[in-house]
């Protein structure tokens, strides 16, 4: 295999972006996947960052943050957070986005706030307790979760991350499943896929429970089930994700100048 699992994950994520979509990119993997898509098959993909940085592409390496000079050097417009996160994202205008997850559950709820000792989670003990490990909080992912027409969740596929129920919902997916989102009147549609380093999960149209839709050729249905913390349903039509084409790899590596994804 002449590509890394992370490269496959980035390419699979990039494939979910369609030409002409309005998208918001975060830093790291998410930005690489987005700029790969723009270069590879979606030249009219319009992207911005949550600081209201418009029309720019990274200069001198992958940005350390969404406001890093590396992403500010060739912008056509700088506005503000209310514009980007409020008027474009939370309002329901953004077509697609990518968020990360420290923990994720079967309804696509994402936790990036903290990890609790088993049994002490607020939803279990009925009060807010201090997390064992404090994480970074939701940042702008919560606005994407409530507002984006659809969005993608990227996460390393590990049993401890893929929990039956997350310790803390930082960015709501389908909450308790079914039409649970409706109660909150969210402008956005919820997560359309969970893309991991092993395969792709998608939500059931009715129950909104995520099932295994496709696996990467270097993985398998068995490996993915073994690395998922809930009883993962498998699509009757479960299939292998097409391997990256040479063109896709060339375009991804042209974007990933530092080769951060190459490490296998």
């Amino acid at each position: 295999m002449d590509y890394s699992k992370n490269e496959m994950m980035a390419i699979a994520t990039g494939r979910e972006f369609k030409d002409g979509e309005l998208a918001i990119f975060g830093v790291g993997l998410s930005m690489l996947a987005g700029f790969f898509a723009q270069r590879n098959h979606a030249p009219n993909l319009i992207a911005f960052t949550e600081g209201g940085v418009y029309g720019s592409t990274p200069v001198g390496g992958l940005p350390w943050g969404i406001e890093d000079n590396r992403i500010s050097a060739n912008a056509t417009s700088f506005t503000n957070a209310i514009d980007a996160l409020g008027m474009l994202v939370a309002s329901g205008r953004v077509d697609n986005a990518v968020i990360g997850a420290a923990q994720i559950d079967k309804y696509g709820n994402v936790n990036t706030t903290g990890i609790w000792t088993e049994g002490t989670q607020p939803w279990k003990v009925g009060k807010y307790t201090l997390p064992k490990v404090r994480l970074n909080g939701s940042g702008g992912a919560n606005e994407i979760a409530v507002g984006a027409k659809k969005y993608l969740i990227m996460a390393a596929h590990e049993k401890k991350r893929f929990a039956d129920k997350v310790d803390y919902i930082s960015s709501p997916g389908y909450i308790t499943g079914g039409n649970a989102r409706e109660k909150y009147g969210f402008p956005g549609g919820g997560p359309s896929a969970i893309i991991t380093n092993l395969g792709i999960l998608r939500p059931d149209p009715q129950t909104k429970e995520f099932y295994l839709d496709a696996y990467f050729t270097f993985s398998s249905v068995e490996e993915i089930i073994a690395n998922t913390g809930w009883e993962l349903k498998v699509s009757p039509n479960v299939k292998a994700v097409p391997e990256p084409t040479q063109q896709e790899l060339d375009n991804l590596r042209a974007v990933d100048v530092t080769g951060s994804l190459r490490k296998k």
Partner: protein, 327 residues
């Protein structure tokens, strides 16, 4: 109008106090926050700070790591690609700092509400999840119904959430350029600095450059913070270091990592404060603490061209000294 130019020492002495509600801006982990102002707060030992942060930065990371932050409301508590904020993480996990979670879109809207004199702002953000159901201020009730209460749209009857507006006692705001009256120009994302400058009761600016007011008259549409919102102006070059100021300098990757790893422990934090807080008095000394070569490398930024239209109005160190004395 009188000059509002004062020293960093005076600014912190006059505009901060124990237990105050303090807000800072940019409040972006990698860019344009008033880090130098935070260093002076730590030097003067202002404590029990109730900190309003859009995001954590190395400033709030240091303040929390030094044990001076009683409480924080924040949308993102990390340092982006630079990792977790160890000083803040330690303070939160030990219970030293009470952290009330919101999101990056929530804090600006709550400041907007404060600026507009609204008691609350309607929101879909932070509902249907644990920012709404969990409250560090009111931990016993889960799901919490007071932090982000449910309200009804009077036109459709649909339910949504309400954020409490924020009116900080003081905001310290980094800007790229300011004149001596407080007219200010920001390069790069404003993040929530526009709203913050109107929401806070008092506003102190920390500027990379002091420019002549003629610069403001040439570019009035760039002056997003007018003098009438500002109480004091502090001249402090490299004031965002080790983070970046768009158009002026890049983030100092080496120091960002080193600082954050030193903040992991109390001892490391003490050592950091010795070396990088108590080790200077004047802006000039501060440059030496960073190091001439480092300053040269960081200011060689790909964004430098963004400053070109304004350079002719920049006040020299000499002119600024005179302006300070003239008060």
């Amino acid at each position: 109008m009188r000059s509002k130019l004062i020293s960093m020492e005076e600014a912190v002495k006059n505009y901060t106090w124990d237990g105050m509600t303090f807000a800072h801006g940019g409040a972006l982990p990698v860019g344009s926050d008033c880090i130098a102002f935070f260093r002076e707060m730590v030097r003067q030992g202002v404590k029990d700070i109730n900190c309003i942060s859009n995001c954590n930065t190395q400033g709030s990371n240091l303040l929390a790591g030094a044990g001076l932050m009683k409480r924080m409301e924040v949308g993102f508590s990390g340092l982006e690609v630079y990792g977790f904020a160890n000083g803040l993480k330690r303070a939160v996990e030990s219970g030293k700092t009470i952290l009330e979670d919101y999101s990056n879109g929530a804090i600006p809207l709550r400041l907007l509400g404060g600026a507009l004199g609204w008691p609350f702002v309607p929101t879909f953000m932070n509902t249907g999840g644990d920012q709404q159901w969990c409250s560090a201020d009111d931990p016993e009730s889960y799901p919490n119904t007071k932090k982000i209460p449910e309200i009804t749209d009077p036109f459709t009857g649909k339910k949504m959430g309400a954020f409490k507006s924020i009116v900080p006692d003081v905001a310290a705001i980094h800007v790229t350029m300011a004149d001596i009256y407080g007219n200010a120009i920001m390069l790069g994302t404003e993040w929530s600095r526009f709203e913050l400058s109107r929401a806070a009761k008092k506003v102190v600016l920390q500027a990379d450059y002091i420019v002549d007011t003629d610069c403001m008259r040439q570019f009035p549409n760039l002056v997003r913070i007018p003098d009438l919102c500002v109480d004091a102006v502090v001249y402090w070059p490299m004031g965002v270091w080790p983070a970046c100021s768009t158009g002026v300098y890049d983030s100092d990757e080496e120091h960002m990592f080193m600082m954050n790893s030193m903040l992991k422990t109390e001892e490391g934090t003490k050592e950091y404060i010795e070396k990088f807080v108590n080790s200077y008095k004047t802006p000039e000394d501060f440059q030496n603490v960073i190091g001439a070569e480092k300053v040269k490398a960081l200011t060689n930024t790909a964004t430098a061209f963004l400053m070109d239209p304004y350079r002719k109005w920049i006040k020299t160190e000499q002119e600024i000294k005179q302006l300070m004395e003239r008060r």
